[in-house]
Amino acid sequence: MLGLVVVGASWGGLQALGRVLSDLPREFDLPVVIAQHRHPGSQEGTLAQLLQKQIDRPVLEAEDKLRIEPRHVYVAPPDYHLLVERGFFALSVDDRVRYARPSIDVLFESAADAYGDGVIGIILTGANDDGARGLARIKELGGVALIQDPAAAVRRAMPDAAIAATVADAILPLEDIGLYVHELWVRSSGARETA
């Protein structure tokens, strides 16, 4: 049963994130957790505020031990790694992982470890290869791996690296990702009800 969506984005990510999140229908109630690379000095809270302007569901910057609630969107705070445990967040100020803090790999790997096959991982536009290992880990533990079609991404390096690292369940244009995720969720909740 699906329990969590994790999204990684870098260069060009803000717009892409806005699009995917606004395509999720109201009824969709999985929590969504985002690691978006930012400039280290960037202000706290701003990414959450920018996203909040574009979507209806609550957007929060994750804090240590904060409970993960349905329908909420969480973003990793700048200059921390964000990890998930079963049902809540953990933070670390550990060294950068491949130049990034927050690191998409760290978020994705912890999500896979905590939620197993209940995770949907999504890699969006970006100019580096962060997230590729994490997405592979999600796939390895039975979760779903989705990647934005590199051809139409603002920067294609990150989707390309993810494609090279794992067998994606789908490679989709940005416009189709939200609906695809919704469909996965509908099918998984249907399976739950008839089980």
């Binding site: 240590d64 953990a90 670390s92 912890s110 470890d113 905590a114 939620y115 197993g116």
Partner: protein, 292 residues
């Protein structure tokens, strides 16, 4: 399959749960931590599992092993391996005037109260290599409070304390620290506080005149004084909820009435049993004041 004795139990919660492999790994991990504790006395049993697991796996790979149990075996019989794991597990990342707005809030909201005291005791818990302590000392000097302050700077790790006492920080960080210092409301030229030497920036000795660096383990050691301010930033994020609650009790009991607790930007006392004992002094800077 009719044997009743020793028939394998159906593992709990198959089906909708993550693969059984993870549950098994959880068992292995807790056995490893228990073993490490009993053999060497290092107690990581209540540390936050997600980042602990990352670190342990890094060590497993580095040792050329493939399971947590294999690492446990090696750790228990090979002290050098234990020392390598300890290095992996100690996360000492820190910076001078990290989160400059915290220091701005400290100047605006804590310093005025400290002025009313004849003498102030401050505890910096989990001070790592000391950058935070030197930052605080600079702030207090500039506010003319340093002479009537004693700072107790503690960490579990003696090696980082030794570096803290030395007060030499990397030269290539000085540009970043200078910017932080300015944003933190610094009143002088930052370069007045250190001497650029070949091996790093040597900070003024006067900054540690009133500092006591000492080893203290938040997991097992008690309070050692009553404080007007306790600062513990980015340390408890590595603890699980149970341990966090215990450390919060320790801090609460170690604070004088109206004493101030300062946490990291993304930590809070919400949900801690002592939440009711504090009022918010500056919620976004995570400064709290003990009220009873």
């Amino acid at each position: 399959m009719t044997s009743s004795v020793g028939a394998p139990r159906e593992p709990a919660g198959t089906g909708e749960r993550p693969p059984a492999r993870d549950d098994l790994e959880e068992i292995e991990l807790s056995l490893l931590l228990e073993g490490v504790y009993r053999q060497y006395g290092f107690d990581f049993r209540e540390y936050a599992p997600a980042s602990l697991r990352r670190r342990v796996w890094r060590r497993i790979h580095a040792e050329g092993l493939t399971t947590v149990s294999a690492l446990q075996d090696k750790l228990l019989h090979d002290q050098a391996c234990m020392e390598r794991l300890l290095l992996d597990l100690s996360i000492n990342v820190t910076a001078m005037f990290r989160d400059p707005t915290f220091y701005v809030a400290f100047r605006d909201k804590v310093v005025p109260a400290l002025r009313t005291y004849p003498f102030t005791r401050i505890w910096v818990a989990g001070c790592s290599t000391g950058e935070e302590v030197y930052s605080l000392a600079i702030l207090l000097q500039e506010e003319k409070l340093y002479d009537r302050t004693r700072i107790y700077a503690t960490d579990i790790n003696e090696a980082v304390l030794e570096r803290a006492r030395g007060g030499v920080f990397p030269l290539d960080k000085m540009r970043e620290y200078t910017q932080n210092y300015i944003k933190a409301g610094g009143k002088q030229a930052f370069s007045e506080y250190y001497l650029a030497k070949y091996d790093g920036a040597q900070f003024q000795r006067s900054l540690t005149e009133n500092v006591v660096f000492a080893q203290h383990n938040l997991v097992s050691d008690r309070s050692f004084n009553e404080f007007n301010v306790i600062i513990c930033r980015n340390v408890m994020i590595y603890f699980d909820r149970t341990l966090q609650d215990r450390v919060h009790r320790l801090f609460y009991e170690s604070l004088a009435t109206f004493g101030v607790l300062g946490l990291g930007h993304k930590e809070s006392i919400r949900f801690s049993p002592h939440e009711g004992g504090y009022e918010e002094l500056d919620p976004s800077e995570k400064l709290y004041r003990r009220i009873d």
